[in-house]
Every structure is written in C-alpha cells, then in structure tokens.
Amino acid sequence: MSDLKALIEAVIKGDISTATAETQHAVGTGHNAQDILDKGLIAAMDEVGERFSKGQIFVPQMLRSAKTMQECMKALEPFFQEGSITSKGKVIIGTVKGDLHDIGKNLVSMMMEGAGFTMFDLGVDASPERFVQKAQEIEPDIVAMSALLSTTMPSMRLTIEALKEASLRDKVKVMIGGAPVTEKYAREIEADCYAPDAGSAVSKAKEILGIS
C-alpha cells in the first residue's frame, strides 16, 4: 500500500488538486475503495488530528485537510452507493441552545466525517427538543454537543435529560466538548465522554463505540 503515501501526504498538507488526483489514480490502479478510505484518507486525517491535538497545526490547516478529504470522498462516492464502504456510525452533532458558536463544532463534524462517521449537523442554538427529534428520526450511535460559553453549558444537561425522558438515553452515547467544558462536567451530567479538541474527538468516539 506504499503508493497511498502520496495521497496521505497531500491530505495532510491540504493540497486538494494533488490529493484528488491521487485518489483517482488509486481507484484507477485497482485499489479497493475501502482501503483508499481507511488506509489513505482516514489514516491521513488521524495524523492531522494528532498534530492538531499536539498544537503542531491549527484550525485553518486542519480545515484545509478536512476539505481536501471531502473532495477526495467525492471520487469514492459511487462506491458508497453500491455499499462497498460502510459507515463507522451515525452521529448527531450540534451547538446547544443559546450558543451560536459554529467553528469548533464544524471542525469536530468534519474530522468525524473524515474518520468515516455519518454526520447529521443540527447547526447552532439547537434545542433539546431538536436533538431528541433528530435522534428519534435517525437512531444515531452518538449524540455530540458543543458549548463555548459557561452560561450555555447547562443546556447540555437539559439535552441529556430530554434524551432520558424520550427513552433514548440508553440507545445512544453522548459526547460533549467546548472551551469551558471539562472531564469533570461530563461525569457530572453523565455524558459518556468529553473530547478536549477536534483531534481527539475522533479517537474518543471510536473508543466509546468500541471500534478501532
């Protein structure tokens, strides 16, 4: 699989044209689509996430890589449709009620998408009712919430309570994050996990679903 190396490098660099060309090339030379995804794109994004967590790269670089990944995915689209690529899981994501911060949540969403999850983005200012409604509709594996203000953090607790009330809490894992959020707060409101940044969100998500 050494010839996926160029693809991996291009995704890390966020070089869209090279990366899409490499993806086309890999498809053309008979690579398995699942391999291109897992050992190429996802491997690259794992590295990007790790570099971000370490502070070696920052938001613009990570976003560029995520966008590159999305472009490359388009080339793999037909394989998705014929079912030869499987999703890692369904995730509902949103910034909680009263909070309009978009960027961090989008980063997490793109990174998780890049890691093979199917994302359903509720946007910002998402009420507990909307989380519940969407969860009833699509039966996700994970509900992910973001809050950037300490004053809107309680909306996370309310959303978890709403999930309980709708008898959905046992069926999903809840993941939370955002600048003022802590591990301790996650325990306090009985979320399943806390992700300190977009890089680690992916590994945390895999961890709680018990996948590698």
Partner: protein, 645 residues
C-alpha cells in the same frame, strides 16, 4: 459517632434529619498575613478565600481551566487532582503548590498566597485622554446635566408670591415656569431660604429644583464620572463650573474574584440565588470608595455631589442597576433595557447627595455597551465625513466603522488572551509585566512596567513578542513555533526549547532574568490563543468593511481605545494581523475613551442627547449570525506572511 446516630433516624421526616445534621468545619490558616478562616468541610480553598475577601489570581471563575489560582500548602498536602496534574508542573506539585479551586478542605490546612501586600500595587490605568489638557468639550458648550443658579428673591416678592416655590419660579424667569421640586427639597426649603436671606443657589436638574443652598455654594459645583470596566474601575471628579477635571482615582473591580470576564460573572449569577446582589454590592462598595478618595482630594463632601454619569459594558451597567442580566448570557443576548437611564443615585446605594441623579449611558445591545457609545462620542465619528475605524480592545473586541452617513458596530469575542489571561505566563498590565518587546542587534529588549525584572507578559508585550518572533521566523505564518533558519533569528534560536509532546516553546526570560526566579515562556498554546483573539478581531473588522462596501485603504483614521488599545504598537498589531495593513500614521489612541465620552455627557446636555441619538443611528451587526464572519475568522487565524520592517 454522631453521624451514625442521626443515620439511625433515617425513617423520620427528612426535614428533621436535615436540621440535626451538624455542619463540620475545619480551619484554614492563610500566610503571610496569618488570617484564620473557619471553613465548611469539603469547601474549596478558593471558596474559603473568597469568603474571607482574600485576593486570588484566576481567569476562569473556578472551572479548573486556567491554572492561575495557585496556593502553596505549607501543611501536609493531599494528592493533586487530575486537573492539577495537568495544569501544574512536577516541580510545583512537589513544592505543595495546588490550585485553590480544585483543593477541597478535608482537614485543617496552612497555606501561603504569596508575598504580603505591604505596598499598594501599581496598576497601569489611563487617566486622561486629551494629553495634558483635560478639557472634554469647548467651553461654549458647557451645560452640565445639573446646574446651579444664583438667585435673589427681592423683598417685595417675598410677600407677594403664593408660595416659596412660586417665588423661586418667578425669580428664575419664564424658562422655568414648569419648575417642580423634590419632596426632600421642599421640606428644607423654608429654613434654607431664611438662612440664605433669600439670596441663594438653586440646584436644578431639568425642570426640577433639587436643593437650595447658600449663595457661596454656587461655585462649589462638582460632578462625577465612572468608567465601570469588567476589570478596572475609574472615577473622575469634574468642576462643573469650568468643565475641568479635578481628580482621578482607579481601583481593581472587586468582582474580579468571581471571574475575570463578563461570562464568568453571568455564570456566577446563574448559579447563585443571591449572586446578582453580591456583585452589585461589591461594585457599589468600590464606587463609594473611589468617590471617597476623589472627594477627599478636593475637600468635598458626599452632599456636594448632585450628579454622576456611568459608562460600562451592558452587563456591568446591569449589575450596577441590579437588573437581572442573564438575557445577555445566551443568544439572542437581550438586555433588560438599552435606554440611557436617569435615576436617583441613592437607589443603587451610591453615597452622594440624597437628591443626586445617576445617569447611565445608553447601550446598543447586549455586547455594544455604554462604554462603546462613549468611545464613539469621544471619536466624533458621527459628525465627520472621514471614515473612521475604532477598536476597543478588551475581552470582547468592540469595533465601529463609518462616518456621519453610516456607522456600523460589532462585537467580536476575542477572549481574554490579549489582556494576558489564558496565556501561560500572561498577566494584566501591572508592575512586572513585559509591556513592550523590541529586537535590537539580534537581542530581545524588554520594557517592563515599574522597571523591575519581568514577572510575566501583558497584552501589548504579547503582541510585540509575537510580531518579533514572526519577523525572525521563530513563529511561522501558520503559528507554529520552531527553530528558524533566518539570519535575523540569530541567538534567539537558542531560546526555542523543545517540549515532549507540546511542541516548542520560547524562553522569554530565564529564571535568572525573571523577578520570581521562575522562567517566563511563550508556549505553542499561547500562540494559538493569540491567533484566536486576533483572528476574531480582524474578522470583525473585515465583516464591517464588507458591510460598508469599502476597502481597508479607504479608512482615513483608526482610533484605538481600551487598556490594550492605548499601549499596543500599531506596527506590531499590523504584523500579527490584528489590524489591516494601513498607514501606521493614521492610528491614534483614544485614551480612556469610555470615561471621556461619559465626561462629555456630564458636562453638556447636548452630548448626552447625542449619545442617545447615536443608539438610533448606529447599526449593529451581530457576528454570531454571519457565516461570512466565521469564514473570515478562520482565514485570519493565520498570520500575515509579509514582514513589516
């Protein structure tokens, strides 16, 4: 044993059980001042110190995130918590240093909270804005919100007028035919008139007579202005007779111990049933102390003051007025009131004359407060054809752009990094803070407040430092700290130190060079914080520029206000991309513009009216709803590639 006994009665009514449960207390001894505090078992040290009114560093309001509320446990220290392991280094943990907000009192403790404060700390606060002259408005426009008039009631009128008040009306002339008087004033009026021998001073607020004084008092005409900042409070005393500034006093906002930014204060109010009352009490106590200092310098008494004007951000103004501010905490960020209010100062607890009036500046929205309205008033932008960009740089970067035709404002959540918070060795601008950094012959030259060895970096120093490191390539345009290949880096490369997982950090001052024998670093994470802060402000500016349909080069003048705004080097600010690249000569400091604007309102009814009109004139752009802002924000997190010098 006692606990066990009460446990036996679990079946009994829960109310009784609760009453019988005895609270357990432990003792906390605080060095170096040897204060003993009786503390409820399991309370945190932070809570205990706050209860004892002992000052403590910290930016996050006790969330365990900033790692600054360090105390040293002198008695036996418990094992550190997870958060403490993360935020403190091994050497600190070894010495018994813990975080006050994470350490629970499970037994008696002796702690040290740093050096005794023998001398008052020197805080750098701007006091006047127009250089040496402290004149805020032309003398011709002097018409204070309260005025004094010398009146003689002719002997013949004394018998003719139907009442004491009517006689004063007559003497004042047609202009005052609607004159009213406060009850307080009427009660003392007959005696006052007699004592003044019908030749005295009428104290007038609009159509209202609020006091009658002896004739000499006509020259003792003073008023106050307060700039109620989230971190610092400034008070000014004015002579309303000639419009001159008599005295200035400032102090730190005592609310700081409940978090350094507006959001943590709101959070506190949300969590505590009496939170608002506590914060209001602290603020008024500070303002009364400032007032006492100001009055002392001019040998005045509280009774001599009939008027005060207050400017602050929307939340601070709400806190002063004891208005529930929680609407500001969440989208759609609605304040209770935006109008400029006129109330009796006694209603909020300010100790002035019983009839004294308090004016609060009008606000535009939850995050465009009376302070920015004051800035705009000071800048005079609404009366000019030239396009002016104004920035008030604090935790929120408030921005205005436009001219007399159209004026836009927005508030960009920059976070407190540019005030030194959330920066590992960051600090506010006080003694020991590196406030400026220059590169001379390949060596860094620091300017330190108070001319002592450095203890940390404040906002302006941080901007300079990042600009210098960008210049010599130790920080690249993506914000990564690394060793540089550029010649200009010279010896500085030896200060770039690799850390295990967290990349590189830059040694600003070694332990030998620093005041506290502790090295001062700029870490990779610090640079990321700067990127977020300057990215938000730059994106806010860009959004307004687009909205106004101009380009950066069309800006004729740039005004900087706020603590950072007045000290930041414009060229450094441009090098890091905080400001767009413009001619640095058009950048001016507005001084402490929040108090200047409020002073203008105090001294001239016309300007008070202008402030009220401004609120209708300006357009507020709510950035949180703008997708283009988010795009610009990300784009502007990177640093510019080009060097400035």
């Amino acid at each position: 044993m006692l606990k066990q006994k009460s446990g036996d009665k679990k079946q009994a009514s829960p109310l009784i059980r609760k009453r019988r449960r005895k609270a357990v207390y432990v003792w906390l001894n605080v060095q170096p001042e040897d204060i003993w505090l009786r503390v409820r078992h399991s309370d945190t040290i932070r809570r205990a110190l706050r209860g004892g009114d002992i000052k403590l560093e910290g930016d996050c309001g006790g969330l365990g995130k900033c790692g600054k509320c360090k105390v040293k446990i002198l008695s036996l220290a418990d094992e550190p918590t997870e958060d403490e392991r993360e935020l403190l280094d091994d050497a600190e943990l070894e010495q018994g240093i813990r975080l006050a907000c994470r350490t629970k009192m499970s037994h008696d403790l002796v702690i040290s909270v740093g050096e005794p404060t023998t001398e008052p700390e020197y805080f750098q606060v701007l006091t006047t804005s127009h250089g040496i002259s402290s004149r805020y408005i032309p003398e011709s426009e002097l018409e204070p919100l309260v005025n004094k008039k010398l009146i003689t009631l002719p002997p013949e009128a004394q018998d003719k007028g139907p009442s004491d008040l009517d006689q004063i009306k007559l003497a004042l002339g047609d202009e005052y035919h609607n004159l009213m008087a406060s009850l307080h004033c009427l009660r003392t009026l007959p005696q006052g008139l007699r004592e003044s021998r019908y030749h005295g001073t009428a104290v007038l607020h609009g159509d209202s007579l609020i006091d009658w004084q002896n004739w000499e008092e006509v020259h003792r005409h003073y008023g106050l202005v307060f700039d109620i900042g989230t971190s610092t409070l400034v008070g000014k005393l004015f002579n309303l007779g000639d419009g001159s500034e008599v005295a200035v006093a400032y102090c730190l906002n005592s609310q700081n111990k409940y978090g350094s930014d507006v959001i943590s204060r709101l959070q506190y109010i949300k969590e505590r049933p009496r939170g608002l009352q506590i914060l209001q009490y602290l603020l008024v106590r500070d303002l009364n102390q400032l007032t006492a200092h100001l009055l002392q310098t001019a040998e005045l008494e509280a009774n001599d003051i009939f008027i005060a004007v207050v400017a602050g951000n929307t939340t601070m103004q709400h806190l002063l007025l004891n208005l529930p501010p929680l609407g500001i905490a969440e989208a759609p960020f609605l304040p209770v009131v935006t109008d400029g209010l006129v109330i009796k100062s006694g209603d909020v607890g300010l100790k002035l004359h019983p009839e004294a009036r308090l004016y609060t500046m009008p606000v535009k929205s939850g995050y465009i407060g009376g302070d920015l309205i004051s800035d705009i008033l000071t800048s005079g932008v609404a009366e000019q054809k030239e396009i002016i960009l104004g920035l008030d740089l604090g935790t929120n970067g408030e921005i205005f752009l436009g001219n007399s035709k159209r004026l836009l404002t927005c508030s960009a959540a920059a976070g407190p990094a540019l005030e030194g918070a959330r920066i590992s060795d960051g600090m506010i601008a006080k003694a020991g803070a590196i406030e400026g950094v220059r590169l001379e012959d390949g060596q860094l030259q620091y300017q330190v407040i108070g001319n002592i060895r450095p203890r940390g970096i404040c906002g302006s120093g941080l901007v300079d430092l990042v600009a210098v490191l960008l210049h010599c390539g130790i920080i690249n345009h993506e914000g990564t700290v690394r060793r540089s290949r550029r010649k200009s880096a010279g010896e500085l490369n030896s200060r770039v130190i690799k850390r295990r997982a967290a990349g590189y950090r830059f040694l600003v001052a070694s332990s030998e060079e620093s005041h506290d024998q502790k090295p001062i670093y700029l870490t990779q994470r610090d640079v990321r914080e700067v990127q977020l802060a300057k990215g938000a402000i730059a994106a806010g500016i860009k959004t307004l520029i687009d909205q106004l349909g101009i380009e950066a080069k069309d800006i004729n003048r740039v005004y900087l206000a706020g603590a950072l705004g007045n000290y930041v080097d414009p060229i450094s600010a441009m090098r890091i991309g905080l400001l767009p690249r413009i001619n640095p000569d058009i950048v001016r400091s507005l001084g402490n513009a929040a108090s200047s604007g409020a002073s203008m309102a105090l001294l001239s009814k016309k300007h008070w009216q202008m402030a009220r009109d401004l609120v209708d004139f300006i357009e507020h752009i709510e950035l949180s709803y703008r997708p283009d802002f988010n795009e610009y924000f990300i784009e502007h997190m990177d640093f510019p590639t080009k060097n400035m010098w």
